[in-house]
Symmetry: C2
Subunit: 374 residues, 2 copies
Amino acid sequence: MSLAYGVFARRGEAPRVGARRGDRVLDLAALAAAGRLGALPERVFARADLNAFMAAGRKAWRECGERLADIDEGGIALAEVELLLPIAVADYVDFFSSLEHARNAGRMFRPDAEPLPPNWRHLPIGYHGRAGTVVVSGTPVTRPSGQAKEPDAAAPVFGPSRRLDFELELGFVIGAPSRLGEPVPAERATEHVFGVVLVNDWSARDIQAWESRPLGPFLGKSFATSVGAWVVPLDALEPYKVPAPPQEPEPLPYLREEPWAYDVELEIELQGQVVSRTSARNLYWSVAQQIAHLTINGASLRTGDLLASGTVSGPEKRSRGSLLELSWNGSDPLELADGSTRTFLLDGDEVVLRGATADGAVALGEVRGRVLPA
Amino acid sequence: MSLAYGVFARRGEAPRVGARRGDRVLDLAALAAAGRLGALPERVFARADLNAFMAAGRKAWRECGERLADIDEGGIALAEVELLLPIAVADYVDFFSSLEHARNAGRMFRPDAEPLPPNWRHLPIGYHGRAGTVVVSGTPVTRPSGQAKEPDAAAPVFGPSRRLDFELELGFVIGAPSRLGEPVPAERATEHVFGVVLVNDWSARDIQAWESRPLGPFLGKSFATSVGAWVVPLDALEPYKVPAPPQEPEPLPYLREEPWAYDVELEIELQGQVVSRTSARNLYWSVAQQIAHLTINGASLRTGDLLASGTVSGPEKRSRGSLLELSWNGSDPLELADGSTRTFLLDGDEVVLRGATADGAVALGEVRGRVLPA
């Protein structure tokens, strides 16, 4: 299985950075202290997040990976450790880069209009989410309360969300920062990316619908965003870059590149049953284009920035990345094997997102979360 | 002049926390090392941001303020130090809490519809901004480039923004954090607020207009947000709370409180000339309501969260808080004393925002920025 980095703690001990090795984890702080990880000192790993390691840059990441490949120790059993949030999230940006997802949203919410917003094919639409509520896989998610208004109601009502949803996304974590005022060109953008995590961007559709005009999603998203415990180095995905269909119309020069995507298979499990299978190759905008866009106004990247793809949906019904789409906004309930149906999530539901290359060589692991009642 | 905290550095020395005293600054790290600031140790102040101090909580803030009142040293001349960004910004949230600003935006951009969005009087609308591009007063702001589309054009064009603007805002800085899953009630919300800063939320109106549907502002705002170098403790504003008009309709219970606002006078200087005067008492939603709303879905507050009010506009033409409104989207150019006019900002323009109570006892200082060419 591929190299992946995370943060773990043994009972009563301080958190430290580890590398996944099957069902065990290597203690990188201990290895660095013993001089076995090259130039990187122990303090880079003897801490509660990957950020110091991520800030060290691609040369250091590669050297560390090469050293680890030569180490044949087993490490500590995962059963003996707690896995923690792997990164201190700087800014969290959520994009909207799946054509099928954007089209589905348009068809559901603006049935009489062109499904895609007019700007959609010209730029990778995105917005900032709440970095402070990013949680690690396994953290329960309490159903949020808030305001919602039925279309024909005179006023909003307050209560637990009745349209709680998941969103299957791929997240890219920035390692090497960039300077304020210096846009990062698309062709050099991936140099800044440390690695990839799975993301579940939990969404309360009713809260979101009422609050979003004119400034976008806020409380409908900010209650929790789950990420996987393991960050896979971007280098591992390099062999899985595949050409993507041409972008029409051709984007403006700063976004122009040969279209490509990562061929990573993704699946959604709800209550123990796989309800959707899709692929990151279905994304229209690449992470390189997202970074070129994000920085074209001079905005800087910081170590720990998390750039999520937006919901990854494919063209088939069972390749959609949210319950909103799988149940077509509740009009076509999803049937589960136990005979129950879902329009949106019920209290107690457990959602597991998984990702891996088809050959199994690169495994993103899983992001798991159970819904607790409000 | 009121107590205010900031971060300063003398040439060649490490940054540390200071307290403003006229045109001098007290070195709090040195005072703490000498045991003169009560229980707070030197390390709380011997660092490049206020966050450790802010995390210490209201009791520690008050004790520190009382100790400082008894210290009659002059400190270091401000002319000898550089003032740095005072806080490490965790999440940056920008609200939209001025009724006049929201109405003006509606009248300009949706002239055939009700000026206020339907949700506006029911909740304090807000969205997340980019924490990583918050800069301190005095930092030049380079005109951002990006995509914009004229209404009658077939496609967007790329180039420097032609509608660069400022926004006069008041920012509240979170000191004491809250827990994930535990909403902060309005009546206890200000316990979490360390203090107040001035904010200039620079905006590229043309970029913003093209990108914002459906997920809100992104690159039109993310290139820079300037904050003042001095954070005034919230306690200092307590005597300046004034009753505000009733909120109609009455908000949902979690937002309900006797309406109030801070009576802080604000002004905008453009190229050395005051072009607008307004007051924070013109804000419809209070910071307590903003915090109650922000956390009602379970989202937590972190030390260093910055909550900006949104543009503060008053009812008169010359009390509007943005050039967008002062020039009515460019249709009514603002005339300056030198005979020139402004629709939006020109390269070289300097904008200074100032804030103080009418009696001068509480001074927020200024936030200053000059526009550099793209």
